[in-house]
Each structure stands twice: as structure tokens, then as C-alpha cells.
């Protein structure tokens, strides 16, 4: 089995509207169905509440408001999943009721 991080992207405008709402039934259904494959996960606050900390290369940090990359699609949440291979991980990824879509990243195995 391999671990994958599923990053959930949604429209920034939609994300702001959904703020404070309880979890949607679509996500509840997804989690009921795929429970055994989901190791962890969370929904995020809108990107306007995020803060970036970038190393300035001189031992210090530069702290800025917002995510590294501003875009119409914003990170809305994530799941850490376990799957036999990329095909299964993509299958699970397709079932996430994400507004825009998801990215599926293999998690590095450190031996």
C-alpha cells in the first residue's frame, strides 16, 4: 500500500460563501464510502486567512498575507489516503466532491 496526499481545490468565491457551514452531505457520503482508505483529512479556512512564511535566504523569514500562489482555485482541504497504486488513488480522487478538482501527490517513503 502507498500513501497519497489528495489536495482539494475549489473556487475562491465558493469557498468564501461556504464559510462556517457544516460539512456537506456529498463529503459525508464520500467519507462513509471511502472511510477505510482515508487516513486523515481536514477542511481549510479561506485562503484570505492563510499566511506564508518564506525563508529570505539570510537566516530570516519574510511573512506575508495569503498563500504562496494566488489563483482563482484555492486549496480547500486535504485527505491523506492509502491505496494499492496510483490507479486506485486516482479513482478515490475522482470521487472527492471537490468544486474545481483535486491533486494527487504520492507521499515520499523515508526508509
Amino acid at each position: 500500500m502507498s500513501k497519497y496526499l489528495v489536495l482539494i481545490y475549489q473556487d475562491e468565491a465558493v469557498a468564501r460563501q461556504a464559510e462556517g457551514e457544516s460539512i456537506s452531505s456529498a463529503y459525508q457520503e464520500f467519507m462513509d464510502r471511502r472511510g477505510p482508505s482515508l487516513l486523515s483529512g481536514a477542511a481549510l479556512q479561506p485562503s484570505s486567512t492563510a499566511t506564508s512564511i518564506r525563508r529570505d535566504g539570510a537566516g530570516g523569514f519574510r511573512v506575508t498575507d495569503g498563500p504562496f500562489a494566488e489563483s482563482k482555485e484555492t486549496l480547500g482541504g486535504y485527505y491523506l489516503i492509502e491505496a494499492v497504486d496510483l490507479d486506485e488513488a486516482l479513482e478515490i480522487g475522482k470521487e472527492v466532491p471537490a468544486g474545481v478538482g483535486v491533486e494527487v501527490w504520492p507521499v515520499r517513503v523515508v526508509s
Binding site: Y4, V84, D85, L86, D87, V104, P106, V109, V110, S111
Partner: protein, 417 residues
């Protein structure tokens, strides 16, 4: 075993490289557990074939001998690596395998070539990488050969292949034939890669030669391989039919001065009749399935041309109808362009030209030399020579293939005189 002459051995090894590479590599991946180790082992096996076959004679089944040797070699590499263990994740758990002496008789080896091609053409890999990997792993082309075929620096192809292999290993892209539920979609991806290999060879997008025969032949071989592995699949039959029916005309596309000859002026006695016969039989097979697939429809269009005695006797109504079907289910700017040309010959040049003019707004066709060339041709036929001249000049600016450029230049000077 009798000794074999070195020229005979070299020929046998070269032949086995061409015929058996994919089979040997695919069977070795199972034992090696990852593509890199398998490739290294297979390369070693081919190298040792040169010396061993010279001393002991050429085995009756070169593929079986090479597979057994490559599998043993893969195990050696693993033993060595066990001491200096690399942390790369495995494509699959290596199968427990007890090697025999490399077999001189054919043994039962599973044919894993389908797994290999589905892995190489996985949708999680970039389209460029799928093509490069397929040529490298299924056809056994060196990185330098792939680079030459696409007129790209070798370093670009090497980086592309390395990156793709890393992703296969790190993301656990599986080494298997997809389940029935996703087979259609995934197979379409494989067929597209094979067709792209063929068309890149058939009309080189740039450079001094119109065709790169070696690449076109690899495309044909891949299509044949898929037909052997999936004999009951209509889309596979359609692709092989399309490649054969297109390739049948390749011998007539250049004249004795190596200048481009358009289909309308080709010497049809130079067309390869046996390829046409084979292609048409495959097409019948493909068209039995309803609805017909994309490649079968394109093959049907090629067949109308191939079976026509002359350009003037071509059944343009039939071709137009086939393009209508194609456009309905697989619309694309290039299909629209070809449909407009068919319309010009089926109905009238003015009608065809009107369609072509409308396509000028398609962003994907804005820099496509064949649109300007088709407009120039219809304008000439309509006697609008000044407009035709401008269109030929536009096509000349856009084309990057020397043979095509020379053809356009000739047409343009013909207008001026």
C-alpha cells in the same frame, strides 16, 4: 551447438532486438520489480548474446534465451544492490524466480507487453513522455534515436524519460492491464500514442525529409503488436487498418527528385496493393462494431482513396459523409479542415472555400500551414490568382518541412508565370 559466423550472429541479435525487445523487457520487469533494473538487465542480455551465440550457436528461440538471461541478470543486479540499497520504491514486488541456465528451448513465459505499453501510456504521464517512453521501452530505441526522430536535443529526451520513470516508481503507476471498466478509455490513450508515432514518421513536422521511415515503421510495428495482443478489439483493428491504408501510399509521395507529390498527382500503380488489401480486411472487421470508432472512420476515408482508380473518380460524397460522422463524435479543428476540403470536391470549390475561410477564426488552425495551402489550392481552382498567391505565401511562412515548402514554392511560381 555449432559455432556461428560473427556476421550471422550480429544479424540475429539485431533481428532479435527489433522483434523481441518489448517481449524480453516486459517479461523482465516482473522479476526486476522496476523498469530501470529491467532495462539494464535486458541491455546486458543483448550484449552477452553477441558473444555467447558466436561460441555456442544461435538458439532456436532467441526471445526465450534473451528473457532467461535478462531475468538472471536482473537478480544479480538486485543481489548487488541489496548491499548498497537504494530507497526507490518498487513498481511491483519482484516475483520469486528461480533461474535455470538460459533456455535453448522455448519455455512458458507470460507475455507482459500489454502491461508495459499501458504503463508507458498512463494518463498520469505527460503526452510527450508517453511517446518517448513507448519508443524507448517498447521499440528499444536509444535516447539518441528518440531525440533524432523528434529533432530535439538528446538531453531533453533523456530528462523526459528519467522524469517519467521516476514518476512511475514514486507514484506507483501500476504495471498491469486496466480493468474492463476503464479499458476503453485507457486503450484510446495507447492507440493515440501509437498513431502519433506513425504520423510523426509519415509527415515529419519539420526538417529536410518529408518522411522518417524508421519512425513510421515503428508505428506500424506497434499497431501490429497491439493487433496480436488484442485480436478481438475493433479500435485496435481500426488503428492498424488506418496505418496500413495510409502507409500504402507512402511509396508514391516523393518523385525521383525527392519532391512532394500530392495524392491527386500520385502514380497509383506505386501504391502498395497488399497493404491496401490487408487494411481493407481489417477495416471490415472494425466496422462490424457499432458505432465505429475514430480510427475506423479515418481508415474508411483512407480506404475510399486507396480503392479509387483516379483522383477524378474519387467518391467525394462518401468521404464527406465519413467526415460528417467523424466531426459529430470527435470534433477537432483538423477534422473540420479536412471536411471543408472534401466539401469543396464533393459540392463545389466556392462552397469549400467559404468553409475554409470560416475556419481562419479557429485559434488552433491560425498557424496551421495546411489551412493556408488548402485555401491557396481552391483559390487557384477558382481562378482567383492574386488571392491564391497571398495564401501560398502564408503557407510558405508557416510550413517547417522542406519538401512541403519546396512544393508550395513550385505552385507559387507556377502562378506568377
Amino acid at each position: 551447438m555449432p559455432q556461428a559466423a560473427s556476421s550471422e550472429v550480429a544479424a540475429a541479435v539485431a533481428d532479435a532486438h527489433r522483434r523481441e525487445w518489448a517481449f524480453v523487457l516486459a517479461a523482465t520487469v516482473r522479476v526486476a520489480g522496476d523498469i530501470d533494473t529491467a532495462e539494464e538487465a535486458v541491455q546486458d542480455a543483448y550484449a552477452s548474446a553477441l558473444s555467447t551465440w558466436g561460441a555456442r550457436g544461435i538458439p532456436r528461440s532467441p526471445g526465450a534465451w534473451l528473457t532467461a538471461t535478462a531475468r538472471r541478470r536482473a537478480l544479480d543486479i538486485h543481489r548487488r544492490a541489496a548491499t548498497a540499497r537504494r530507497a526507490l520504491p518498487k513498481l511491483l514486488e519482484p516475483e520469486a524466480y528461480i533461474p535455470d541456465e538460459p533456455g535453448w528451448e522455448a519455455e512458458e513465459i507470460p507475455d507482459d507487453r500489454l502491461r508495459l505499453i499501458f504503463t508507458c501510456c498512463h494518463p498520469a504521464l505527460s503526452p510527450d513522455a508517453r511517446v518517448a517512453l513507448t519508443l524507448r521501452l517498447l521499440c528499444g530505441l536509444s535516447t539518441a534515436d528518440v531525440a533524432r526522430a523528434f529533432l530535439l536535443p538528446e538531453a531533453t529526451i533523456a530528462a523526459r524519460v528519467t522524469r517519467a520513470k521516476k514518476k512511475i516508481a514514486a507514484a506507483h503507476i501500476p504495471y498491469r492491464v486496466p480493468a474492463a471498466s476503464e479499458l476503453r478509455e485507457r486503450l484510446d490513450g495507447v492507440l493515440s500514442v501509437v498513431y502519433l508515432v506513425y504520423t510523426t514518421g509519415h509527415t515529419a513536422p519539420s526538417g529536410e525529409n518529408l518522411m522518417r521511415r524508421d519512425l513510421a515503421e515503428r508505428g506500424l510495428e506497434l499497431a501490429r503488436m497491439l493487433r496480436v495482443l488484442l485480436p478481438d478489439d475493433g479500435d485496435v483493428a481500426g488503428l492498424l487498418a488506418l496505418v496500413l491504408l495510409t502507409d500504402a501510399r507512402s511509396g508514391a509521395r516523393l518523385d525521383e527528385h525527392r519532391e512532394l507529390v500530392l495524392m491527386q498527382n500520385q502514380d497509383r500503380s506505386k501504391w502498395d496493393r497488399s497493404a491496401i488489401t490487408e487494411g481493407v480486411a481489417l477495416l471490415r472487421d472494425a466496422l462490424q462494431r457499432r458505432p465505429p470508432g475514430r480510427f475506423a472512420l479515418m481508415a474508411a476515408i483512407a480506404a475510399v482513396h486507396d480503392e479509387s482508380n483516379s483522383w477524378s473518380e474519387t467518391d467525394w460524397q462518401e468521404i464527406l459523409g465519413l467526415y460528417d460522422l467523424l466531426q459529430e463524435r470527435w470534433p477537432s479543428p483538423v477534422v473540420k479542415l479536412n471536411r471543408a476540403i472534401a466539401l469543396g470536391f464533393a459540392v463545389g470549390y466556392a462552397e469549400g472555400l467559404a468553409e475554409l475561410d470560416a475556419l481562419g477564426a479557429e485559434p488552433q488552425l491560425a498557424r496551421y500551414p495546411y489551412l493556408a495551402a488548402a485555401r491557396a489550392d481552391f483559390l487557384t481552382r477558382l481562378g482567383r490568382f492574386d488571392d491564391a498567391r497571398v495564401a501560398f505565401q502564408e503557407a510558405l511562412i508557416l510550413t517547417e518541412n522542406d519538401a512541403e515548402r519546396h512544393y508550395l514554392q513550385t505552385r507559387l511560381s507556377g502562378l506568377s508565370s
